[in-house]
Symmetry: C2
């Protein structure tokens, strides 16, 4: 049985340049990438905001998948969030050249009444106050996972800590984990974060993969069962890393929604699916690669990835 999956996050127009090309006004944003990746596994309930400059064709891109856009607010006279940036060299980091928050700056998510029973909730990167307001509007989900970023760690640390007490999982990148926990070792950093509430932390390391650290069970310090380091799927075809992290989270949460089990082995397998979705996401600009995927390609790559790690 598939469980209902709600995501709240940004929807954007991205204009960007990498060593492999450039695009302008591409459909992007965290909720967009997340939903597209997750939709292979489960229907997605999308809550976000756009301006009335958001073209019907873009809404159609979302609705052509199993993405319900009933939670998409359209601000009349407003403009959609815009991001402009670029990547150099190994493309490990984006250089942001311009941000126009526009309607996303005043985003007050409203969860449609019919969605308050959502079983899984993903709070894409956003202010922890806004993320918390989403949790105020849903009733007892089975699994709540949040993303965050350095901006909130620096400027809204208390609100972020309050949010952490209300989530099951946190997803963030390695530099952010070190900053939040004030600890260099990533496992120790994750364990400090676990003390603040979550049951697990997923640390994203870009081209180096991801690290899952969960609360230790009765087995004590045994790393197996509480720690899983997964490398990125090796690809020679990386062209645009935008959306990789949200595609990872989408693959992970989509798989968990489909399975309805959230123990450690399921989390590891969910991360493997996330890794595969992220590897596809970066192979072309925007949603082009993931949006055109067949589920068979995902399964095929998952098996290849599995075989690479078998020894």
């Amino acid at each position: 049985m598939t469980n209902s999956l709600l995501v709240v996050g940004s929807i954007a127009f991205d204009t960007l340049r990498t060593p492999f090309g450039e695009v302008a006004d591409e459909l992007g944003g965290s909720a967009t990438y997340f939903s597209t990746a997750a939709s292979f596994f489960a229907p997605v309930r999308l809550v976000g905001v756009v301006g009335d400059d958001f073209p019907p064709a873009f809404r159609q891109v979302l609705e052509s998948r199993r993405i319900d856009t009933a939670g998409l607010q359209v601000v009349s006279g407003g403009k959609t969030f815009r991001w402009r940036g670029s990547y150099q060299g190994a493309m490990n980091e984006a250089t942001t050249e311009e941000v126009q928050l526009n309607v996303f700056g005043d985003f007050r998510p409203t969860i449609p009444a019919a969605w308050r029973d959502s079983r899984l909730v993903f709070l894409a990167n956003g202010s922890p106050v806004t993320q918390g307001s989403v949790l105020d509007q849903v009733a007892r989900p089975d699994l709540v996972v949040a993303d965050t970023m350095n901006l909130w760690i620096e400027t809204q640390r208390d609100a972020l800590l309050a949010l952490l007490a209300r989530v099951d999982g946190l997803v963030l990148n390695d530099g952010e984990a070190r900053m939040l926990a004030d600890e260099v070792n990533l496992i120790l950093a994750a364990r400090r974060i676990l003390e603040w509430g979550p049951k697990f932390v997923v640390i994203k390391k870009g081209e180096h993969g991801a690290l899952l650290v969960a609360r230790r069970d009765a087995a004590g310090d045994a790393p197996a069962g509480s720690i899983a380091p997964l490398p990125a799927y090796p690809t020679t075809a990386a062209r645009d890393p935008t959306g990789a992290g949200d595609s990872f989270a989408g693959g992970m949460m989509g798989y968990l929604a489909r399975q309805g089990e959230y123990d450690f082995p399921h989390l590891v397998r969910a991360m493997a699916y996330g890794t595969v979705l992220a590897s596809f996401a970066i192979e072309d600009f925007g949603l082009r690669r993931v949006g055109a995927l067949a589920i068979d390609e995902i399964e095929h790559r998952l098996f290849a990835y599995h075989d690479m790690l078998a020894f």
Copy 2:
């Protein structure tokens, strides 16, 4: 049946500081770390050079293991190689503060006549001309693997390319692979290096693990069977990264010597053993952790590592 394993490399006195402490005149050097790690799996034939300041106690450390020091040259009136350095923060990179090459600067390896039949040869980091002179002195080994570094890529590129035509495998770190191949993508960089001779390349990524890229078989572009990305074993106990790369290579080559098989699946498993040995090496200064290991601890960690990657 265990196959004979020859290593040629440096033996040094290391003086170093990390956020977790400092040591002076510690026994170190590439051949020392390599031999110690490899000796759990196979007897090691060590060729290196020291001065007459090299204490009998250090020689005893080596000989107390399955490390044959018959190839250890002692230069009368000479001084042993000395390195002084430090690590900050996440300890991803050493800051070299002083190098005294001493007798290692004029090292002309002489392979004892009885060792010319060695089945496996590891050429630890050194000038490619010197590494090549070792190959001139051995007869048809089954497996030759070399390490290298940025210094040789920059200053002796032609000699390095000539050496590559004579080895089966090359081990180097990610920055060096990118420099040698003039290619940012690590898989493409490795494949360019493969065109110069080796059958496989192992790219070490420090705390991010290692990547094996081998010549593709008839299956063509299928990544499984020619690419294996292995994460580092996650540890909270990192204290001193010195020797991690050579311990990795030692675990890898030692396992291959014990098994006597060098196909892709064996290479991947050998890397897993190398990963485990490297994870122990960094848990204490110098040889302290690996030198005191029991084989049971290695096997136990290998199983834990295996389980972490199973999904």
